[in-house]
């Protein structure tokens, strides 16, 4: 029997009943009395000076209440990397210059969306188009146009990571491979687009309802940009229709609605349409990858050298983090004694690239796992074997970077090995490719420069034993409300239905940095556990006083029963003690507080999860078309808190990461995204979805709540690499630029045929 009553059990999501009845209210659904509707006018040019904006005609249109341009703002620039002012480079409403097709230049508030739309057509903007640059390799040339003044060679951020002696080590290698890759962009495609309702009142207070991954970030950035005090801005996250990395920066819907509302003292709602969502929000970072890998004959990896140039797009956003993390995760999940990474992020006149599920790790995992398979083949070693030989193990230090405590990579390799063997001989043109990966449980870095703990929680016990859990954690679909409620219930010894969670409302919840970097289960989970333990301790004091056992006995609570830890039959009802404790405290409710900030845990993350994935494909060599047949994942994420949640994360990741490898792309022409609709942007639909299987490996992470660690983003890392390796196994061709489309496979097959003739 499990020692836990709540965690590890299959429960209904706490937000489930509201969602399956259509009753959950998203920002998209909100209507306030007197509310106006806003629309944003965007640049049609990839790069241009704004000479003049004439809003007079638009203002005269009946039903239009306000029109704003950059002149109506404080003229400040913002960004997530607040510690580095030069990286806070986005005005949101441009005043002098636009830098990509979609950059906002004006916004309108009107009585309805149609009127607002009509008004946009009446705004006259005079531009002076400037030469533009779209490719990062072009952008870093001397003669390239400058996207931001004073930024030499358009290089926005650089990152160097190094340990060991790479050059010496290469001399000792028996075999060296050098390979190049080109990685495409990817759109988040949250089913709820970016949207916000902002209400600024005559008392100078602002309330923002918005679909976000971090209510705190929005509150803080909004304060920076409007000059309001943080405490005068309340950000509430209603039910949110997906995030995947796209929703923790201040966006045009939030900011324009805020400025319009401040002008009018009326609520203003802005919902981005799907085309804006595709063209004018952030996206996955495209990268050029140059890799050099050296090994001994026996497959021991001695050295790796990585150079990356990323397409930054117009602004920094979270792209600097993507660069850093692609550099760090290029070493994963292997023990390289010598490693060097040099990364450059170049500004271009394209839509800004930033965070997307997995950050830079899906990129580094695709290229790394592809190259490793080729290395194994060159050396005549089995792909699983080379991973076994070099894979990370528990208590391993990534030199000078990170400390890995729990690590179940080798068990995962064993499981996948067995899975492949069990599958036996494959039909013709089928192939199974493997890919190993690891990921972090939240970032340690504080580029945002928050003075607060990274996560915090408050637990309040009411007289009837019902527990209110307050946390800044953001439920965006990933299941954090459920997982955190489970942690709270377990620690406090009550049932899941005893918990009511109040989350992501800055007016009542303590700060949490939000849902990104796969941080919530570990970081917020620790804060919730601490808060629940604090409340529990207060109850146990009363229980001890009441029962008066020998002082050597410990108390515990389980299933609403407060009892002697060693003699569970001797106890008292949780509900009775709650009543007495509140009476004993002169009527004060019981409040427990918890917080978590990682200390002395290296530079990246307090914990890492690992896994190995095997993808089976069936290729039609006549057409290059292929089918994803099966994706099996051996995965470890420490103690599993919410098993239904993990299955969902895993299968959802396969849809998204499989799409990254298989079909998703954002082709451009002169900075214009050519497929900005769900009709044209190819996503994996139910008929393309492979069979999925999950093989859970037991590990325990000492740093996590009840031994848990991340299980969200890391799962997006392996799939593209596994698909690439599977296609190679099936028909012997390698595609080094994502996505691996049938056309590319067919072309490669034809070339291969030509060569063999």
């Amino acid at each position: 029997m499990s020692k836990y009553s709540v965690i590890g059990t299959r429960v209904h999501r706490v937000d489930g009943p509201e969602k399956v009845t259509g009753n959950a209210k998203y920002t998209f659904d909100l209507v306030l009395p007197g509310m106006l509707y806003g629309k944003v006018l965007r640049s049609p040019h990839p790069h241009a000076k704004i000479l003049k904006i004439d809003t007079r005609k638009a203002k005269r249109l009946i039903g239009v209440k306000a029109v704003i341009t950059g002149k109506d703002t404080l003229g400040r620039k913002q960004g997530i990397w607040r510690r580095f002012p030069e990286l806070c480079d986005e005005e949101i409403l441009c005043r002098e210059k636009v830098r990509y097709i979609g950059d906002p230049v004006a916004a309108v508030a009107a009585i309805d969306e149609d009127t607002a739309e009509e008004a946009l057509d009446l705004i006259e903007v005079e531009y002076e188009p400037l030469p533009a640059v779209f490719d990062p390799l072009e952008a870093i040339k001397e003669e390239a146009p400058q996207v931001h003044d004073g930024v030499e060679l358009n290089i926005n951020v650089t990152r160097h990571i190094e340990w060991g002696d790479v050059d010496e080590a290469f001399k000792k290698c028996d075999h060296i491979r050098e390979d190049q890759y080109k990685l495409c962009s990817q759109a988040h495609v949250c089913m709820e687009t970016h949207d916000a309702v902002v209400s600024y009142d005559y008392g100078g207070k602002m309330t923002v309802w918005t679909s976000t991954q971090s209510s705190y970030y929005i509150q803080r950035l909004m304060a920076d940009m409007t000059g309001l005090r943080e405490g005068d801005i309340r950000v509430i996250k209603p039910t949110t229709g997906g995030g995947f990395g796209s929703k923790f920066e201040l966006d045009s819907a939030q900011f324009c609605a805020a400025i319009l509302s401040m002008k009018l003292c009326k609520p203003v709602k802005i919902v981005l349409n799907r085309e804006e969502e595709f063209t004018a929000t952030k996206r996955r970072t495209p990268m050029y990858y140059f890799l050099k890998l050296g090994a001994k004959k026996d497959g021991t990896l001695l050295a790796k050298e990585v150079r990356v140039i990323t397409e930054g797009g117009a602004y920094t956003a979270m792209g600097a983090t993507a660069l850093y993390l692609t550099g760090f995760f290029s070493s994963f999940p292997y023990k390289y004694p010598n490693y060097r990474f040099d990364g450059y992020r170049a500004y271009t006149n394209t839509a800004t690239t930033s965070a997307m599920r997995g950050f830079g790790a899906p990129q580094s995992t695709f290229v790394g796992e592809s190259q490793l398979d080729m290395m194994a083949e060159d050396l005549g070693i089995d792909p699983i074997e080379i991973r076994r030989k070099n894979g990370m193990t528990p208590n391993y230090e990534v030199p000078g970077q990170a400390y890995i405590q729990s690590c179940g990579l080798h068990q995962c390799l064993d499981k996948i090995d067995a899975h492949i063997k069990e599958r036996g001989k494959l039909p013709p043109n089928h192939g199974i490719g493997v890919s190993a990966y690891g990921f972090m449980s939240g970032g340690i870095f504080n580029w945002f420069d928050t003075p607060y703990a990274f996560s915090a929680a408050i637990v309040r016990i009411n007289i009837d034993g019902k527990v209110d859990l307050f946390t800044g954690a953001c439920e965006i679909g990933q299941g954090s409300d459920t997982t955190l409620s489970m942690i709270c219930a377990e620690e406090l010894g009550v049932k899941l239905e005893d918990i009511r969670i109040h989350a992501a409302d800055t007016g009542i919840c303590p700060v949490d940095l939000g849902a990104w970097g796969s941080r919530t289960t570990l970081m917020n989970g620790n804060a919730v556990k601490m808060a629940a333990a604090d409340a529990k301790r207060q109850l146990l004091e009363f229980a001890a006083a009441k029962m008066g056992p020998n002082i050597v006995y410990d108390f515990d609570i389980k299933d609403q029963w407060i009892h002697l830890a060693d003699r569970p039959e001797r106890g008292i009802s949780y509900f009775d003690i709650v009543k007495e404790a509140i009476r004993g405290k002169d009527g004060e409710t019981i409040i427990g507080r918890g917080h978590y900030t990682p200390h002395r845990k290296g530079m990246i993350s307090p914990a890492y999860s690992f896994g190995v994935q095997a993808a089976e494909v069936a290729v039609d060599p006549e057409t290059g078309r292929y089918k994803l047949v099966n994706v099996t994942t051996a995965h470890e994420s420490g103690t599993v808190i919410n098993p239904v949640g993990i299955e969902g994360q895993l299968e959802g990741a396969i849809m998204m990461a499989g799409g990254y490898g298989y079909c998703e792309d954002q082709p451009m022409d002169e900075g214009k995204i050519l497929n900005p609709s769900i009709a044209d942007y190819k996503l994996i639909r139910s008929l393309d979805m492979p069979e999925t299987e999950i093989l859970e490996i037991d590990t325990y992470e000492p740093e996590g709540p009840f031994g848990a660690k991340e299980a969200g983003e890391g799962l997006t890392n392996p799939t593209a690499g596994a698909i690439g390796n599977a296609v190679y196994k099936a028909v012997g061709v390698r595609i080094n630029d994502l996505p691996i489309t049938p056309e590319k496979v067919l072309r490669a097959l034809k070339e291969k045929q030509k060569k063999s003739k």
Binding site: H12, R13, D15, G16, P17, E18, K19, V20, T21, G22, N23, A24, K25, Y26, F28, D29, H188, V189, C190, M191, E192, T193, T239, T240, G241, G242, F244, N273, R274, E275, I476, G477, Q478, G479, V644, G645, E647, G648, L650, E651, G652, A653, I654, M655, M656, S677, I678, A679, D680, L683, R685, S686, L687, M689, E691, T692
Partner: protein, 159 residues
């Protein structure tokens, strides 16, 4: 020029005056406040707005409300009987067939339409039945498991 529209939604008759170009989804969401039906695209390609019109699944973003004049519409709000969830809804809960929930109303309606037409669909037919609905969160397989459970009779409908 506004036009009269009669519509029965979830068993409730309505009479309203609307602009002729008003979409069915707009009537449901904006005029009747039935916001369970979502919109996820501008190209009739995501399925988030799926409802049933006279027993057939339709994308309410690509139907003019006036085309539905005199018709019967079933939306996600009409699935539960009082506070008792129906089989599909229960199965969605049990099998974790949703995450953010934004596609869920449309998924439930597509699945409802499928089961109306074919109470014993094969797995492939279930996949086809929801192929017009994008879900960015779940990877579909949990949804397929949930529908399969209903097909297998794991749930008893409240009468």
């Amino acid at each position: 020029m506004k036009k009269g529209l009669r519509l029965t939604v979830n068993g409730q008759p309505y009479e309203l005056y609307i602009k002729p170009k008003t979409l069915l989804v707009e009537v449901l969401r904006d005029h009747l406040g039935l916001t369970g039906t979502k919109r996820g695209c501008d190209s009739s390609s995501c399925g988030a707005c799926t409802v049933m019109l006279n027993g057939m699944a339709v994308r309410s973003c690509s139907v003019l409300a006036l085309q539905a004049n005199g018709g019967e519409v079933l939306t996600v709000e009409g699935l539960a009987k009082g506070n008792e969830l129906n089989s599909l809804q229960k199965a969605f809960l049990d099998y974790g067939a949703f995450q953010c929930g934004f596609c869920t109303s449309g998924m439930l309606m597509s699945a409802t339409a499928l089961l109306n037409e074919n109470p014993k669909p094969t797995k492939e037919q279930i996949k086809e039945g929801i192929d017009g609905n994008i879900c960015r969160c779940t990877g579909y397989n949990s949804i397929i498991r949930a529908v399969t459970a209903v097909v297998k009779g794991e749930y008893k409908e409240a009468k």
